[in-house]
Symmetry: C2
Subunit: 415 residues, 2 copies
């Protein structure tokens, strides 16, 4: 899809790009799995090949654009192209998140460029901003909505839809895949956050180091309770750096309704960056889709072409530190808890005691609708900031109380 | 102020920058008006000179950073530096807005770079985004809040303060100058909009071609009426391109409360860009101040250093078209009108007739508080889109009606 978008854009904007950059970008060959497949753009069939190596090993080719996605074989293709002295432009978040540092080194060794603007945020130029424009900043924090699929689903749930029907709608509109796990489990967001954190904090963050909670267990009820307290629920991708290291996590989170990210609706994305020089800075736009992503791919291609014409390579030493990534259990946050409890005096005291034993203090408690016939009450608790591992222990303890029927929801709360 | 911020940043981040770029940035000399003045940062006195030419003509100097501001002598200094084969980094919006194209040509002729990220939006990298990242887009529209001083004043007026006291507060906090005309008359915003429009539409827009209305005549009442109708009042800098050319204007404007720019408060800035590939895209951040602006200056310096090390020059043909700029009178908009009228039957009919004669149809009318003792009523009218020159004619006609005591407010309305 992004491949067709890129070809279409190069065809339509060829003259403008040639004039701006001073060179014509010519598509020499296109490797595809199935040459006979019908495509959204017209392609000269003689350009198509099923043999990717015929591109990667062709000495006539300057730049390889990798838009396959997935770790394999894309990662090997990129490495091979770099080793063969070709510049590479890719939209592959998985490969860059997992192997970006080695590939960057490989690119430097072979004196070529590896550009990956399209890997995060579609048409939003967040990579360029972190690489170049904020170069003089110490960045302390990233807060982002970087998965359009889940944001679309959560926006629908905010209007009262349940998770299942919102997912079906997202699939119908082409925003979610048949197997939505990559999006709804936060895997995609974790890849992107790993890339952004590595650039922002100039220290490697591997996607496995990003703590991750998906959105599949969310209930429209929590959106309503959140709204009553002045919050919205978003799949937040968050990272920050402190004296003891970097923390990075992706989780459904209560965000104040007045927060800049709260108004990011549907498939839109936004990245909020705190830098010591620029203070608060935000980028907002379409984080996916063929056209925005192609916009980023072609911008990278223009930068490569500019360099090729001058016989130079962009070389900015991005990673300068070796900062530890903090275990999620050692991070602190406020939490939102929704419990089904037996409607009986003394229940709250028993819950509060378990929380207190884990050093968790309660900021507010509201007892919502009670199902009198069943003798069950619903309690929503907001805590003060607490260590995640103490919170997990407390949650286990609370769940084991005989008066607690169910821990129905457990979410982070952002200030 | 930005000068000290830049020196401070270079001193504090020297090692990081050297490592990232591969070269040390050394400050060779600093031209100032008064070397004995106390400054916010410690400066080696031997670096100071009052003789700017000793910098501009020194063959040992690679890059000149111009942070004087104002058209003269800064414009001549920049031109001289470029002619002497030096790269130039500037934060000078007036010079770039008025003479950017000639200076860019001069830079190209002498094979050096002229970078001006800091001229618009402080630390917000809107210039880089337009120059590089959106290169494959046809941009159709810009909507921006690009003057922090006026946005601070308008945010205060939104809370009920009057213009005078809000201005005094802005001056006390250092956000407004003793002579605030440049900001409050929209001159500063017009410079910035001219720069952004030129880059976005790839066609020269001179600041004199930007229609301009200031904020000095705004009344807190209009903020209240606007709020009741679901709008906020902002000094909007707007430009768009259509088949007949470019329109560009700066004016206090009613913006829907749900609009992305409506939540931009205080001294913050934001630029909303519509591109055919990326769709809606927004940058938000601190548009002024020593630190954000220094962040942009140093990012430009790093880009120059990167080029100097490789012996190359960035050369992107920015201006590719010769699009006419449409006379403001020929642009269309909805309007908000507030009138003091004699409280008597038939008044509204007479006003409506004048509007109708000018092809202006009324979208809504509300008669607000009436001062019964004076026999005066206040009427607020919202029109459908109308030609600006017809609106001006109608306004004149309405003002001449004997039943109209005063045309108290007249503002554009944005969808």
């Amino acid at each position: 899809m992004v491949g067709c978008g890129t070809l279409d854009l190069l065809a339509r904007r060829g003259a403008q790009i040639t004039r701006a950059v001073g060179a014509e970008l010519v598509v020499r060959r296109i490797a595809v799995r199935d040459p006979s497949k019908r495509r959204a753009v017209e392609i000269d069939p003689s350009l198509l090949t099923t043999d990717a190596l015929s591109i990667l090993d062709d000495p006539e080719i300057n730049v390889v654009v990798e838009l396959i996605g997935g770790e394999s074989p894309a990662g090997d293709y990129i490495a091979r192209a770099l080793r063969n002295g070709k510049h590479v432009v890719t939209a592959n978040k998985e490969v860059i998140a997992k192997h970006g540092s080695e590939l960057m080194e490989l690119a430097n060794r072979h004196n070529v460029n590896l550009f990956f603007e399209a890997s995060v945020g579609g048409g939003i130029p967040v990579i360029a901003v972190l690489r170049h424009d904020l170069i003089a900043n110490e960045i302390s924090s990233l807060r982002a909505i970087i998965n359009g699929t889940t944001n679309f689903i959560l926006t629908a749930m905010e209007r009262g839809q349940d998770y299942g029907s919102a997912l079906v709608e997202a699939q119908r509109l082409g925003y979610a895949e048949a197997d939505p796990a990559n999006d709804v489990e936060g895997i995609d967001a974790a890849y992107k956050l790993a890339i952004l954190s590595t650039l922002a904090f100039r220290s490697n963050v591997h996607p496995d180091q990003v703590a991750r909670t998906g959105i599949t267990r969310l209930n429209p009820k929590d959106f309503q309770y959140a709204a009553r307290m002045g919050y919205v629920v978003k799949l937040l991708a968050a990272a920050e750096v402190g004296p003891s290291g970097i923390e990075a996590w992706v989780a459904p989170t209560l965000i104040p309704a007045s927060h800049h990210l709260a108004s990011v609706k549907g498939v839109f994305n936004a990245v909020l960056i705190d830098g010591d020089q620029i203070d608060q800075f935000m980028l907002y736009g379409r984080g996916a889709g063929a056209r925005p992503t192609a916009s980023a791919v072609v911008a990278d291609l223009c930068a490569v072409a500019h360099n090729v014409l001058r016989g130079v390579t962009e070389r900015i030493e991005l990673v300068q530190h070796d900062r530890p990534v903090i275990d999620f259990g050692e991070t602190r946050a406020r939490h939102y808890l929704r419990l089904q409890v037996v409607d009986r005096p003394g229940v709250l005291a028993r819950i509060a005691r378990v929380l207190g034993e884990n050093d968790i203090s309660i900021a507010s408690v509201v007892q919502h609708e009670t199902d009198e016939t069943a003798g069950v009450a619903e309690i929503v608790i907001m805590t003060h900031p607490a260590l995640e591992r103490r919170m997990a222990a407390a949650l286990k303890g609370v769940g084991e109380l005989d008066v607690v029927r169910e821990v129905s929801a457990f979410l982070r709360v952002e200030r």
